[in-house]
């Protein structure tokens, strides 16, 4: 039972364009969502988060959008840079600061020069 789903295993985007990574969840108790970025042979690195009281959070080139009615969130990266090439995981928890995160399967993003 996959409570957090990233349906696109991979995504290829041209440098300078917008990258959009999608995530769906099924557990209506989730109210805090995070995106992590992972390079090979390293642990995931926290990127950006959003709580359910918001529908948008922005940090530099990264923006996360939350649609609670659709149980859907997305990460927008603009403009995309070669260093953004990595695996991106979305994660969810039932309470901000809660100690258990449920992760999606990841999307491998490749930025082409």
């Amino acid at each position: 039972d996959q409570q957090v789903k990233q349906n696109s295993p991979s995504l290829s985007v041209q440098e300078g364009r917008i990258s959009i990574l999608n995530c769906d969840y099924t557990n209506s108790m989730f109210d805090y969502f995070l995106w992590y970025k992972k390079y090979p042979a390293e642990g995931p690195t926290f990127l950006i988060s959003i709580s359910s009281i918001k529908d948008k959070n922005e940090d530099g080139r990264f923006t996360v959008f939350l649609n609670k009615s659709a149980k859907h969130l997305s990460l927008h990266i603009v403009p995309s840079q070669p260093g953004d090439s990595a695996v991106y995981f979305c994660a969810a928890s039932e309470l901000q600061g809660a100690q258990k995160l449920v992760f999606g399967q990841g999307t491998r993003l490749t930025i082409n020069p």
């Binding site: 690195t45 926290f46 992760f103």
Partner: protein, 114 residues
């Protein structure tokens, strides 16, 4: 230290062998977590400590898995009688109590059971 340190980075174990994986969290981080990441999947929660207390072990897949953090700092994840399905990357993470910004992960230990 500056980050979460895990050792060893790689471990090859024969089926049936016991293994111990070590995690040194960021100094002062109260919360410590273990996750298991199978190939091509996202990390899956195993267990959580707050200081030395193991508050949630709901993700441990069997009683062959055991974790401890006796002094509220370094933690060890032990797997007894390893099986091939235990092959995965084991990730440790730490955070300040109720850190809303997410955990800091270590680089993981890649366990291969042959």
């Amino acid at each position: 230290g500056a980050g979460v340190s895990q050792s060893p980075r790689y471990k090859v174990a024969k089926r049936g062998q016991d293994v111990a994986l070590r995690c040194d969290p960021i100094s002062g981080h109260v919360s410590l977590f273990w996750y298991q990441q199978a190939l091509g999947q996202g990390p899956e929660f195993l267990t959580y400590f707050q200081n030395e207390a193991q508050l949630d072990k709901s993700g441990l897949p069997s009683d062959r898995f055991f974790a401890e953090r006796p002094e509220g700092s370094v933690s060890t994840l032990k797997i007894q009688r390893t099986q091939q399905e235990d092959s995965a990357v084991y990730l440790c993470a730490s955070s300040l109590a109720r850190a809303g910004g997410g955990y800091t992960f270590g680089s993981g230990t890649r366990l291969t059971v042959v």
